[in-house]
């Protein structure tokens, strides 16, 4: 039995919230550079250049790359041989968010009630997904999610007969409808199968993969490539001002489905595709 103390979790979560917001992953920066080379629009190139500079400034000065420092979304893999000591795991994560957002000068963007809309003042509560897995490791991933791109996401329950064509149409339509709002170039997470809620989770989990890394499932990998070409043909471009780079990548995750169902979820991430993970 491995013991992980809650004060360790609080410290690491606080640190990860800050690092995720200050340091854009090299995978995303490399994707910007590749897009810069391929982009034909002069305005589009200028914007991609600004995004590369912006990431550099944020990293050098330890300031958030975007003022929307996001809803703190956590994916936790809790080994069944891990004992969390000194308090509750979810409480510890929330305490880490509270500390990280306060000490890191991150914006607090959470309202405590969706209709009364009073800011909680500390960016809690986080959204936490916990999966119990074999072994004695505790893995925590944080993915701060901005409101602009989250708002452009969508889910649809297709009929099985609509098949892959129906999926493609829905993904392209969702990206088209989103247009400039989610801060393109975007990363598109697609979840296909499972149930209503599982599809949404698959789509969000797909965003955690390094940008452009193909799915290990050859069928999904081919679909990712095709979808990327389709969305980039839309012409939305960087910031929606026209161009070839609407998306940097499309990531598809699938799950077994009911004989009657074909759920599809599209979770859009802005170009600031932020995440950090730690393993205890």
């Amino acid at each position: 039995m491995k013991v992980v103390r809650v004060d360790q979790i609080i410290e690491e979560v606080a640190r990860m919230c800050q690092e995720a917001n200050y340091n854009l992953g090299q995978d995303v920066i490399d994707a910007f550079k590749n897009a810069y080379e391929a982009e034909q629009s002069v305005t589009g190139k200028d914007i991609l250049q600004q995004l590369i500079e912006n990431a550099q400034i944020a990293k050098n000065e330890s300031v958030p790359m975007c003022q929307d420092t996001g809803f703190s979304v956590f994916f936790v893999e809790l080994g069944q041989e891990v004992h969390v000591e000194g308090g509750g795991l979810e409480d510890a994560i929330n305490e880490g968010v509270r500390k990280g957002y306060q000490e890191g000068y991150l914006r607090k963007s959470i309202v405590g009630h969706p209709l009364e809309r009073q800011n909680t003042g500390d960016n809690t509560p986080a959204v936490i997904h916990i999966r119990v897995v074999p072994g004695d490791k505790l893995k925590i991933t944080v993915a701060p999610k901005g409101g602009g791109s989250e708002n452009m996401s969508a889910i649809k329950m297709l009929k099985p007969a609509q098949g892959v064509e129906g999926v493609k149409d829905f993904v392209v339509e969702t990206v088209k409808e989103a247009g400039p709002n989610p801060c393109p170039p975007i990363i598109v997470g697609v979840g296909i199968g499972g149930t209503f809620e599982k599809a949404a989770l698959l789509a969000k989990e797909a965003l955690l993969r390094p940008v452009g890394e193909p799915s290990s499932d050859p069928y999904a990998a081919d679909l990712e490539q095709e979808l990327l070409e389709l969305v980039n043909k839309l012409g939305i471009g960087p910031q929606g001002l026209g161009g070839k780079t609407t998306a940097l990548a499309v990531h598809v995750n699938t799950h077994p489905a009911h004989i009657a169902s074909l759920p599809v979820a599209v979770n859009i991430n802005c170009h600031a595709s932020r995440h950090k993970e730690i393993e205890f």
Binding site: Q40, S41, T43, D46, I47, Q50, L51, E53, N54, I57, A58, E61, V63, P64, M65, C66, Q67, D68, T69, Y105, L106, R107, K108, S109, R117, N119, G121, G147, G148, N151, G179, P180, N181, C183, K233, L234, G235, I236, G237, Q239, G240, L241, G242, G243, K244, C270, H271, A272
Partner: protein
């Protein structure tokens, strides 16, 4: 091209979609909750806490400033959420808006009627943009936190004209040029 505020009708009328502009001088910040309050005051016939004539509003909710900085990261937020309020503010003389994302036909129509302009700043380029903000003070609604109205002094603040006073729309034009035929 460089523009110095206040942003007059004459200056606004000269701009065309696609132009890259560097703004200099004072601009105000304001987003969802502040817009709601401003429009409520107008509906009650009360005075606004800021004079809107020839002014520019930047849709932003900055992150908190670190001790040595004037402001935190400060990129644009999605403008569409302000669409229901914007025409009422333009009727008060507001000449410019800065944000990201499309505006409704009603807002574009109001821009044509009042000779106002909508600029896009680069969404997410918040650390870079904050470098162009030289001073920042809260002038209304401090209780709204990131949504309070701030007066910013900006220097060479980079924006792109998306909707001009003639009704042009760069988002539509961009799709026409780069979209699949």
């Amino acid at each position: 091209m460089t523009i110095k505020t206040p942003f007059t009708t004459e200056a606004a009328e000269k701009l065309r979609i696609g132009q890259r502009v560097l703004l200099n001088g004072k601009i105000y910040t304001g987003r969802d909750a502040a817009h709601k309050k401003l429009v409520e005051l107008l509906e009650n016939g009360e005075e606004l806490p800021i004079e809107l004539k020839d002014q520019i509003i930047y849709y932003v909710g900055p992150s908190p400033a670190k001790p040595d900085n004037v402001i935190g990261s400060a990129g644009p937020t999605t403008s569409g959420r302000m669409d229901i309020y914007a025409p009422k503010l333009m009727a008060q003389g507001l000449k410019g808006m800065i944000g990201k994302g499309k505006r409704t036909p009603e807002v574009i129509k109001a821009m044509k009627q009042t000779k106002a302009v909508y600029f896009a700043a680069v969404g997410g380029a918040a650390a870079l943009i904050s470098k162009r903000i030289k001073s920042c003070k809260i002038v209304a609604y401090p209780e709204l936190g990131p949504e309070a109205i701030r007066e910013l002094e900006v220097e060479d603040f980079p924006v792109i004209v998306v909707n001009d006073s003639l009704g042009g729309d760069l988002y539509e034009e961009g799709l026409k040029i780069y979209g699949a035929k």
